[in-house]
Structures are given as C-alpha cells and as structure tokens.
Chain length 152, copies 2
Amino acid sequence: MNFIVGMSKSAETVFINYMETHNLSMTPQRKLIVETFLKTEGHFSAEHLCRLVKEKASDIGQATIYRTLKILVESGLADSMDPGDGVALYEHAYGHQHHDHLICVNCGATVEIFDETIESRQEKVAEDHGYKLTRHRMFLFGLCADCQNGSH
Amino acid sequence: MNFIVGMSKSAETVFINYMETHNLSMTPQRKLIVETFLKTEGHFSAEHLCRLVKEKASDIGQATIYRTLKILVESGLADSMDPGDGVALYEHAYGHQHHDHLICVNCGATVEIFDETIESRQEKVAEDHGYKLTRHRMFLFGLCADCQNGSH
DNA sequence: TTCTATGCAAAATGTTTGCAATCAC
DNA sequence: GTGATTGCAAACATTTTGCATAGAA
C-alpha cells in the first residue's frame, strides 16, 4: 500500500506527521478511513467512501468519516471538488500533480487532464486583471467516445 | 429596460416567446420575478433574488422564484453556475457571450473573463481524449488588487 | 487524567416537491 | 371551465453540529 516515489514519504507517513503536528490522535476509526481512502482510486463521493468503510466496520458513524475527510484534505492527501451538482468528489492528492477534469455527461467517465498552455494563460488572464491567482477549477463536459457511438 | 442590440429581440420578447411555445402562462408573479432578474446585474444567488422580489411583493413564495429561475435558465435568459460552495449563482445570459469567472477569495469581487487560447485548447484537449465537448466551467480564484493591498 | 474523538441524532443549508386552492386563458 | 400556477409546508440531499459517552496519550 505504500507509494514508492523516489525518496518521498509515503502517504501514511505524511498523514501521521500531520496528525502529530496538529495534536490529533490516531484512532482505529481514522486509521481505517484513511486506509480505505488510499485504497480507493478515482473520484468518489463522501457517501461512497462511507459505504466502503462501513463494509469493514459498520459501527463507524458518517460524521467521523466526514470529519476525517476534512483532515485528509487539510493534510494534502486528498483533494475535493464539486463539478456542479452540489456533491463533493474526493481524489488522491499526495504525489499527484495538479490536473483538471474532463467528464462524460452521459456515463460519468472522468479523465484527468493537464494542459500547460491553459495553465499559463490562466495566470496571465488573472494578472491582466490585477489578481494574484491562488487556485483554479476547470471542468470540461462532453460525450466520451463510447457514448458517442453505440448505447443510449 | 430594453436591450438595444441591433436587430435582436429584447430579453422580454424572448421570454414571452419561450412561454408561449411551452404553454406557460404569464402570471404577475413570473412577470415581477423576470423583471427583477433583468434589472439585477452581476452574479447573485436565488436567495438574493428572493429578497429583491419580496421587497416588491412579499407574498410571492420562494418556490415560485426557484421555479421561475429554472424557466429563465431553460429559456436562455439566465445562466447558473456553482463556483464550488454548493450555492448556485445566476447571471444574465441573453445577449452575453460565453465567459468564465475570476473570483477574489477575500471579497468576492468577480470578473468575467474570456480567453480565446484557453477556449481552443479546451476543445483540443477534449478531442485528444475522444470526447465531444459540450460545455465547460472554469473558475479562477485569487486575490484582487484591492485585497492584495490595504484592507482585509 | 485530561483532552480529544466518537456515534447518534438533530440541525443547517439550499433546493425541490406534494397538494389543495387559485388563477390565466 | 380546464389545466397551469401558486403558496405553503414538508421533503430532500448533503454536510455539519451539539452533546454525552468512550477512548487515546
């Protein structure tokens, strides 16, 4: 379950460090939630993570899962986004470079995208308006190749 | 209150046409809500529009305002967006070209932006992944000039 | 021990819906 | 008249919070 990325620390180590420096204790609940989060690839809702966690320990309350997700985001292990329907989606952030998302409006298939030209134009546009850019969100919506063809 | 834009129809005309072709009736409530919407510039929430409408007619229910906002979006007069906090913001869409938004994270000042290069790269990135792009949303977050300086 | 974390249930938020009464055409 | 529209209140979905209990260090 470790990320082997050169000399960088594992996600677990980063999380444990964050916990220690913030006087947060490592409870079995948090351990399970973080492990489950790290094992889950892709983009998923809090509710989806809840289901996965409760499969392993049905007595964990959803409040704890939401609270731990917040810690995961603060610690830099998770990133959260809302493509527009008011439901936050989470994904791994540690060891992952910034990217935006290309989402199929029919089946939900999501591709992580990154375009240097867009990124630098964003900086420039912000500067042109006197803004100091801190972050951005970009969602491209369309029909994926599969959905353009056959079904539905 | 009319938009004088060459030969194009006024927003009211477009709305009335939409109503007729969709078998929707022009009630005094809808009339007031649409008038208020058209008079309100910028980016505002449903709740903000509710307040403005209720100042004029306190007996209009919020459900009617939400329902009318939906009609406004469907008719192409309004555009709705959610910059990320789960609250939809509305703005005029009729007679306005597409644009994205640059938002001050401190004071909320919002600038409408448009960059040809970004737009065409978005198309290309989508194509490269076999997607047929239908729409996109982009939010740039940063500190506006005012907030970089003095007050906070 | 002492302060933090938990689970539960209730609250908060923004939006939508069911329904009987009302209104537009 | 007839079907669409309204206001109300309740329902909704997601996320957050208060609180008494339980647990970590």
